[in-house]
Symmetry: C2
Subunit: 337 residues, 2 copies
Amino acid sequence: MTKVTIKDVAKVLGVSYATVSRALSGSPEVSAETRKRVLQTCRELGYTTNYVARSMVIKRTEILGLIVSNIDNPFMSELANHIEERARARGYNLMLCNASHDTKQEEQVFQLLAGRQVDGIILFPTTSNSYQSLKPYLSSVPTVFMSENLYDLPVSYIAVDNYRGTHLGTEYLHSLQHRRILYLGRRKGSTTHKHRAQGYIDACREHGMEPDFVDSSYPYSSISAGYQIARNVFAKPLTHTAIFAATDSLAIGVLQAAQEAGIRIPEDISLLGFDDILHAGLPTINLTTIEQPKKTMATMAVDMLLDKIRDSSKGYSHSILTPSLIVRGSCRSLEDV
Amino acid sequence: MTKVTIKDVAKVLGVSYATVSRALSGSPEVSAETRKRVLQTCRELGYTTNYVARSMVIKRTEILGLIVSNIDNPFMSELANHIEERARARGYNLMLCNASHDTKQEEQVFQLLAGRQVDGIILFPTTSNSYQSLKPYLSSVPTVFMSENLYDLPVSYIAVDNYRGTHLGTEYLHSLQHRRILYLGRRKGSTTHKHRAQGYIDACREHGMEPDFVDSSYPYSSISAGYQIARNVFAKPLTHTAIFAATDSLAIGVLQAAQEAGIRIPEDISLLGFDDILHAGLPTINLTTIEQPKKTMATMAVDMLLDKIRDSSKGYSHSILTPSLIVRGSCRSLEDV
DNA sequence: CCTTTCAATGCAAACGTTTGCGTTTATTTA
DNA sequence: TAAATAAACGCAAACGTTTGCATTGAAAGG
């Protein structure tokens, strides 16, 4: 396991190790012939460049950090996948960390990535006050948030327009003649959820409907949370004609509870999701939903981060992307009743 | 963005930077009082230790590399999740790389991780000859393969007993009186697929059934591959009473094609999967399948790797885990016909 | 009171690179 | 033919740590 260094190949060739370094990096100062010899012996000796030593002197690691609130979430893993792809395309590696919904752990992994000298960090905040706990470290490494920015905080971010998404979805349900729509999701916590809830509320008001929530003690948007919540809803007689779930995972949980309760979707009740995760499109799920443009978000996030890295004088920038409606089979029109 | 180093805090305190280092690492050689002062000024100045510099001298990075053949695969992301968790629990960080089914890229990311001086690598090989292309680098960093080892290669690995899995599954279908079982999956490529195919073949033979394959030009185990293959199968009259899909993703694709073709599962044909990915358990999918003990595999993989790292004199070790049958609703008994 | 011991700290090398600057040798110019 | 230029390469510092060894000062032992 003992590694061969630049000095080893220099010794074999009888040149200085500076020459080897230059040959390897393609410097024009080294003759074509010695370059060939260097490359040759490097291959023979199995030399591989030690990037941690290299990073010490060039003061870059060419590694990007990615912190997700939880990797279980299929939305996250899809996005992580796209981000990895884009990062590699631009010559960077990714170091993935999981905050597991815990602000304390989020802070810890942020420090850790900073300590590992990553060139930049892409962060999915666990809560809307992640900024506060991360603030002390934010100055030490370029960071872009993947979340809307509620209070004009001095950060760069890219996000989907969540407000517009739920607003759009609510109007869609309204256009299908639904008048009693139940919103299943949290109203607090992350800015994402706040915005989604508000878009629903405003769209309801604008169309003379009364917003109606089901609050729960399940803090995260998992399938099982959706299942548990919906089970309570379905235990009583239905008082709504549609459910707007704040995330697809919740919606899939609703689907599960509905099947158990013998409630048909969309015949007995319509169901609308948000995110458009991979499984929403499966025919046995077939969920109508609001799409987040994941690939675009991923691309823009790493590009924005790289901009910040290359030009640190740059101020804070942000992009808000527009969500769109994907019609599948989980919502029906009440007109043909 | 200029970082404060150990020298900076030493200068402020008027001590040597060796003292600061020792205070930080909790060495008993430094007095309690100076330690307190050091910690204090570190906090004030916002010092964070530079792990890449540290790694240079201690010759460890405390980072583990994980190479997956494709992260899209839900099985992979579940496993990656568990591996990350276990690695962190044992004090290591994870660097995740995607080979995207490409042996060339696999080789490239392996070199890259080695160059970044990761302490060890966990690898899901893309194909059964990944070993050959990786061989030159294998000596430079401890590696454990997540795949069965067909030819007694000198590697450590941990895997599920794929042969036993399909054997078990085939026998289960046989016990439900199925006599014409179609195997949907590849027979070549990775050792995983070879073993699975062989387990099916042998179990068939043992029970006097003729193995029957549907070969395809779709190289990967995705939902869409399963969908495309099954669509062809369902275009003709059914000649089998059960389909054994080599992976759950393929099976879910079959489900999709079946629904489109108006074929009911399990009424018209039974369906058995392999892996037990998260979605297999969803009530609208409800797939009977062979489970890989993912969490156990993840834990054992990082523990095995850490053993190798701590004691490099250790030889090659391996563990083969036993898969188990998870009965849900996609297979029916032909007895009650 | 001198020597020994020990606790606390400082010095400096080392890790494997990159790179500015100096040096050598060969080539060109006047 | 001497001087100037250029091409190719070597020297050594620097990056921010850790750590073996040397040094200091004070307490303890005889």
